[in-house]
């Protein structure tokens, strides 16, 4: 009886193990790897231990665009233990906006763009208050 029960448990496991495609990676693994590549230059551009301010674009009503905003979890997970947040005070700012084809990059009066990390993602250094 016990051998039969064990076989019943083991059989589906053996079938899974025999399938080289199983299991499919969690859907976010590739995204995290991609974000790690995109954000890698930050380590050399921003001093270690320096916090990062995060600025995400808002629409006409002042609401955050869901698309860039939903990526904040990934950015934060990759950059930890560097502090990053919307209320963080820092001269380094990660600017995240909706990248549409033909749309110009935002312009900054008191800041200079250090690097375009990806389309719609800029690292900016404040040059004034």
């Amino acid at each position: 009886m016990m051998v039969l029960a064990a076989l019943w448990v083991v059989r589906p496991m053996a079938e899974q193990l025999a399938d080289p495609e199983w299991p499919e990676p969690d859907e976010y693994q590739a995204q995290l790897d991609a974000w790690a590549r995109v954000l890698a230059p930050l380590d050399s551009l921003v001093p270690a231990g320096e916090a990062l301010a995060y600025l995400c674009a808002v629409d006409e009503q002042g609401r955050l665009y869901p698309e860039p905003d939903s990526r904040f979890d990934f950015i934060q997970a990759v950059l930890a233990p560097r502090r990053i947040g919307r209320t963080v005070e820092s001269r380094y700012v990660l600017v995240h906006f909706l990248a549409r084809e033909g749309q110009e990059q935002p312009r900054f009066d008191r800041a200079r763009v250090l690097l375009e990390l990806a389309q719609g993602l800029l690292l900016v250094e404040r040059t004034g208050p």
């Binding site: 029960a5 083991v10 496991m13 193990l17 969690d26 904040f72 979890d73």
Partner: protein, 454 residues
């Protein structure tokens, strides 16, 4: 990253738990198998609490922690060794299988566990960063706890840090093990992966050791197979979540309660150890806090109704709770008091409790999902066995794990019904995990009350 450092960190946590279990286990004869199984969860709770307390006291001097741990462990082993000489405590090895049937059952179990371990390792290899809560919350906080410095408290106040009030057993364990292994923040998070797989192994070992000790090796093997019938559980083993650690503390709490109450002698010497496991559950996850509140309330009612030495029992209980989850109080009250349970609501708790639509959502999900993958078919024979094959009346306290399981399940159910978050989302993301939390305890309960021909 050094493998030797990683193994040393694991070994020291195990040794700390082993010493603690040895010291607190009542009686002169200490069952070797149970102590060996208890050593890992106890060590995890102790070292993670110590890490957190050190971070709080030292202002984030995380790099000094490993040295502190070595000194503390050396002092503890010297103390326990001295006490052992005086008391004459001794280890009792598990008995050998009495029959060919028992031996065969154990061999079959070993094969099934080995197969399940391969499955778990394949899950782990496919998703080395763990699932959402692991990389977005647990390992995120672990990185701050590992880095230390004055900014480690960012995990309680960072504007994007999720669940700032959550208990930190796993987070501190990952950070602690990262120190031992010399991890420097690379892409691969081996400490978290190792702890995740060990959490599953510890939970399985706990169930096997308890059923083997309370009943027989044959029923232990049966319990192991019943546990592994739940294929959804196995799929969670490599997620790097704290659910298996929590299930382990639930199972230990239930098993120790049976050990404490089954004989004629006083249960009081067991209270610190039982409360330690209950407190560790509270230090592990929010669900563990609910469990600790439930069990402590039940213990309080029992002591008050019986009278006698209630203050001694309550003191022993409180000491155990503090040892297991004392840091939670510092965490919750000292750093963050943001609650995801109590807060602004769209409707009152009473309205939610009396809304049939919410029960329908829960019922539909349970009926739709608790099938083969979630061990649905095994629930039926277990329920029938519990109804038809109760053990002798004098062993009625063996029902404690089942009662504990039912009580905790009811609390979880009511928390879900009254959740202020979206019920559909909450049910979809939580019920599988709640089944996982209670499945080992339910299996223990069934095995303990089953009548057998031993």
């Amino acid at each position: 990253m050094t493998l030797a450092g990683l193994l040393l960190g694991l070994g020291l946590a195990y040794a700390a738990g082993g010493l603690f279990a040895w010291r607190l286990w009542p009686g002169r004869e200490k069952p070797a198998l149970l102590l060996a199984a208890l050593a890992w969860p106890a060590g995890l709770a102790l070292t993670s609490s110590a890490y957190f307390l050190w971070m709080s006291i030292s202002g984030g001097r995380a790099a000094l922690y490993p040295w502190l741990e070595v000194v503390a462990l050396a002092a503890a082993s010297w103390f326990v060794r001295g006490a052992r000489r005086v008391s004459g405590d001794r280890l009792v090895l598990p008995r050998r299988p009495k029959s060919a049937v028992e031996a065969t059952a154990l061999v079959v179990l070993a094969l099934v566990v080995a197969c399940a371990l391969l499955v778990v390792l394949r899950y782990d290899a496919a998703s080395p960063r763990g699932y959402w809560d692991a990389w977005a919350r647990i390992n995120l906080k672990a990185r701050f706890l590992h880095a230390g410095g004055p900014e480690w408290t960012w995990i309680f106040r960072g504007d994007g840090v999720p669940h700032p009030d959550y208990p930190l057993l796993l987070e501190c364990s990952v950070a602690r093990l990262a120190h031992w292994s010399g991890w420097s923040g690379g892409v691969e998070l081996l400490p978290a992966r190792v702890l995740s797989v060990l959490g599953w192994l510890a939970c399985s070992t706990t169930l096997l050791a308890l059923v083997g000790h309370l009943r027989s090796p044959f029923l232990a093997a049966a319990a192991g197979i019943v546990l592994l019938c739940n294929r959804t559980d196995i799929s969670w083993a490599a997620t790097q979540y704290a659910d298996f650690a929590l299930a382990t503390y639930f199972t230990w709490s239930a098993g120790l309660l049976v050990l404490a109450t089954r004989g004629e002698s006083s249960a009081e010497p067991w209270w610190p150890l039982v409360a330690f496991c209950v407190g560790s559950a509270a230090w592990c996850k929010d669900e563990g806090l609910a469990f600790a509140a439930l069990v402590s309330a039940a213990a309080l009612v029992a002591w008050i109704s019986r009278g006698g030495r209630r203050w001694q029992a309550a003191t022993a209980w409180a000491a155990g709770l503090l040892l297991g989850g004392g840091s939670v109080l510092v965490l919750k009250l000292g750093y963050s008091w943001r609650s995801s349970v109590f807060g602004a609501r769209e409707s009152s708790i009473w309205q939610d409790l009396t809304d049939p639509a919410r029960y329908r959502v829960m019922g539909d999900y349970l009926l739709g999902h608790v099938r083969f993958e979630m061990a649905g078919w095994t629930l039926l024979p277990i329920a029938v066995a519990l109804l038809l094959l109760p053990r002798e009346r004098e062993l009625r306290r063996s029902w404690l794990p089942c009662l504990l399981c039912a009580g905790t399940g009811l609390v979880f159910f009511l928390v879900m019904i009254t959740t202020r978050e979206d019920l559909d989302w909450h049910v979809g993301t939580t019920i599988e995990r709640l089944v996982l939390h209670l499945w080992p305890t339910a299996t223990l309960g069934a095995m303990v009350v089953l009548k057998s021909r031993e």
